[in-house]
């Protein structure tokens, strides 16, 4: 694991966006060789998406040959509901960039056969040759995507009932009426994320501190599903100072000491290869 510790939310977002940009540009995607990117929703990636949009507008990055797979979507919400993850991705990313709508994949929470929808999603990922970089966030309860505590670490894309905490946390987006919040979601599994060639998790704020501690300093445990990434060969975690509040001082000092090495991984190439 590489743990990048930056100052605050703004620097987490910038670092994350620069990393995505560099990975895509170094890959040099083309019509025959597309870059497959997994994407999250939530408040954490909003800053990263904003920065990516800036890169596209400055012509430093293009999504022309990028394929995206989102992590999840609510069951029963129409695609154009303002709180659907389709709407979120349109508003924060897709409307501002040059991605081909045919290259965008988001689970359809209104599909007539939800199980078939999940299976087709897994097949679509396989058809594209797997995911090159899966970007994610972490919940306060340590979940990745909607893999709530107790989710199998070998799980695949499926329907999940949402935990009471998650429903309560989401009520603020539904007029504070808990009855309006969807109770189920379609989500990629822990296993699905683990299959990606590289995983990058963005973590910001003190509310995520315990989750980060359980994810990287405790054992692999299905109660904190993000901890499965300890077994991933290429796990990159970007967090800010507040998120480190529950980590051991030793852990923080160790990774901060490596920052000069880590910063190289987002440096622009000055010489042509």
């Amino acid at each position: 694991m590489r743990l990048i510790i930056t100052k605050d939310y703004s620097t987490v977002s910038e670092w994350g966006a620069k990393y995505i940009k560099k990975r895509i540009n170094d890959f040099k995607p083309s019509a025959d060789r597309l870059f497959i990117l997994g994407l999250p929703t939530g408040s954490t990636p909003i800053g990263t998406y904003k920065k990516l949009v800036e890169f596209v507008q400055a012509k430093e990055l293009s999504f022309k040959y990028v394929v995206t797979f989102n992590m999840d979507e609510y069951v029963g919400l129409p695609k154009d509901h303002p709180e659907s993850y389709h709407s979120f991705m349109w508003k924060h990313l897709f409307k501002h960039i040059d991605i081909d709508p045919n290259n965008v994949h988001i689970l359809d929470g209104s599909a007539p056969d939800l199980i078939a929808e999940c299976e087709q999603y897994e097949q679509a990922i396989r058809d594209h040759g797997g995911i090159d970089l899966f970007v994610g966030g972490i919940g306060p309860d340590g979940h990745i995507a909607f893999n709530e505590p107790g989710s199998s670490l070998a799980s695949r894309t499926r329907i999940k009932s949402l935990a009471q905490d998650t429903i309560a946390a989401n009520a603020r987006f539904f007029n504070n009426d808990i009855n309006q919040v969807p109770k189920c979601a379609l989500t990629v599994g822990v296993g699905t994320v683990m299959d990606a060639r590289e995983v990058m998790v963005l973590i910001s704020g003190a509310s995520k501190a315990i989750a980060l501690h359980m994810a990287i300093e405790a054992g692999i445990n299905h109660m904190w599903t993000v901890s499965a990434l300890q077994n991933h060969p290429k796990f990159l975690c970007i967090c800010d100072e507040d998120a480190t509040l529950e980590l051991k001082v030793k852990t923080v000092k160790y990774f901060k000491g490596l920052m000069s090495v880590h910063n190289k991984s987002i440096e622009e190439d000055n010489k042509s290869s």
Partner: protein
Amino acid sequence: MTLLYRFYNCTLVRDHALIQDDLWIRNGKIINPEKIFFSEKTRADIEYDCQGALIAPGYIDLQINGAFGHDFSSADEASEEMLIKVAKLLTSHGVTAFVPTIVSSLPETYQEVLPIYKRRAGSAKDGATILGIHIEGPFIAENKRGAHRTDFLRKSECGIEDLKTCYGSFENVSIITLAPELPNMVENVIPELVARHDLVVSLGHSTATLDCGERAILAGARFITHLFNAMLPFHHRDPGLVGLLTTHPLPATTIVYYGLIVDTVHTHSAAVRLAHRVHPHGLVLVTDAVPALGFPDGTYHMGAHEIVVNGKRATIAGTETLCGSIASLAECVQYMRQALLDGETNKEIINEKDSTQFVVESIEAATLHPAQVLHIENQKGTLSFGADADFIFLDKSLNILSTFIAGEQAWTVTDQWSIDNLQTKSSQ
């Protein structure tokens, strides 16, 4: 083949605010690009760089007696060609829809003219949409007739029959201005005009008290013709029709709309601010323009009158009586914004209020509110998804740069704003 157009690099007047967003058009309608992205999975066929312009819905004029030398009340001139000619010329004022207005006239005139001015969808080829006719008078109060001819005025002793005898048919009519204190108006005429003939009844050229005005609104009237002009002035013990702006006996859901001529001549800017502060949602900018609108100083015909145009004023020849305005609706929007700016004493927040409030409210007074008067706010006067693609480009001073009707460019101020010059992508 129906093409998908994307206008970008622009600021939109949408949802009562100025927002940075693209405008997507297809088949002459404003559409939701998010739906297209996820359901149809296509991108725009043609894209236009709007160079940072402000995009607003096209202006709607509910009271205009003529323009560019043409008089809608003249039976001699009345023809479809004339109406279309004016409809095209009005696009240079940012007007994409209007209601040709006929002043108090003889029955012969109405019966000749009313059938000719039919409702008509607008287009780049034929100009602004015709939303129906506004018949202003002759059932109005003699003492408040303004520029209307005394000998043409009529009373409604026999109720609606008198109106039918006078006008012939209401088929092409959308708005009628009458004085509610005349016999039978509140009791019979207004309710029947609203329920049976689907008209917007407007109170004007009247000596009605507030009480009479309220009963008229309860009977179904919903508009006031050029507030302050041709009615009793506001008095603190007898508010008159002006008092309708704050009246309490009406249900809370009833919005009383009122036309206001904001040409710096008919209404003092303090009066504009007063009305706006009391009842901003009801304010409707109208030109009440005379045929001289769009022409330089001189003498012109209107109804059976001679009018003299001098600077910003139009008066009846030989008198000082104002007889309508010669400010374009685009200028009225600018004057209203200026009136609001002049009323803001806190210089620290004035720029913010201008950009978040005054610009939006001035534009809505010429777009959303007139559309609401006619119950067409889902198609016209808005940039919401599903609405007709009637819109205008404005600069920071709210000058009109270009006018689009049903998605096609109908007018531009210079070649710079021609869509051929703005196009950055074409899949053709």
